[in-house]
Symmetry: C2
Subunit: 138 residues, 2 copies
């Protein structure tokens, strides 16, 4: 399961994508609209900003906005940023690989094979779907 942090991030990003033409959006507006604790959301948006996904503007008329077009932001990137590996096992992760300590040889591990397939199936979707695909408002 995705953490609450990542879930909230997705909802916030959807809101930003749906209002991409309205300039900076207030944290408080997103929090209210999506029913998220404002202070927790603050941390999340900051993290997205530090990763270069969002930009922000301080002071009156300020808020957060997307740094790129929604179609440029793959869902996998958000998950990896906030939740880490998408794979079910560390020994099968592309971006956060760790050697398996329980099997003697990963090359002949049946678990390794199956979990690689699950990873590939998930990534095929998460790498190709973007924020734009999450927006339903016309």
């Amino acid at each position: 399961m995705l953490s609450k942090k990542t879930q909230y991030a997705f909802h916030a990003l959807i809101h930003l994508a749906e209002n991409v033409d309205k300039g900076p959006i207030l944290i408080s507006e997103i929090a209210k609209e999506k029913n998220i604790s404002i202070k927790f959301l603050e941390n999340i948006l900051l993290e997205l900003k530090n990763a270069g996904i969002l930009g922000s503007k301080k002071g009156k008329g300020g808020g957060y906005y997307l740094m790129r077009a929604p179609k440029e932001i793959a869902l996998a990137r958000i998950i990896r940023l906030l939740d880490g590996p998408i794979a079910l096992l560390p020994c099968v992760s592309l971006n956060y690989y760790e050697r398996c300590e329980n099997c003697k040889d990963e090359a002949v591990c049946g678990l390794h094979d199956v979990m690689s397939r699950v990873r590939d199936a998930s990534l095929k979707i998460l790498e190709n779907k973007t924020l734009k695909d999450l927006v339903t408002k016309s």
Copy 2:
């Protein structure tokens, strides 16, 4: 990611499946073979037993053994038992569904759609692959 608990369970089950003809297997043997803390493994095997996946025999010559043939035990079942939902979001889980608190209507939520697809892609593999597919020993 799967929890350590589930990862250990898979490795233990693989060992049991590979030695299915040798009668009950000692916890200590599995722990040693797979490099798992014996006491932690004890808890895990007990949980698998209470779920009807394993049987056990006490006393000398005792140990744990599979209650069904390896090909009868789907990987999804193990994950659900020890880790809970396979889906990435609660609102998309088949077995542990919870309503989404951040969107007004799941039916028109783009996130819901994408995550359902990821779930289906994962389940297609995890429901059809069994313990037997994890065994590599001849």
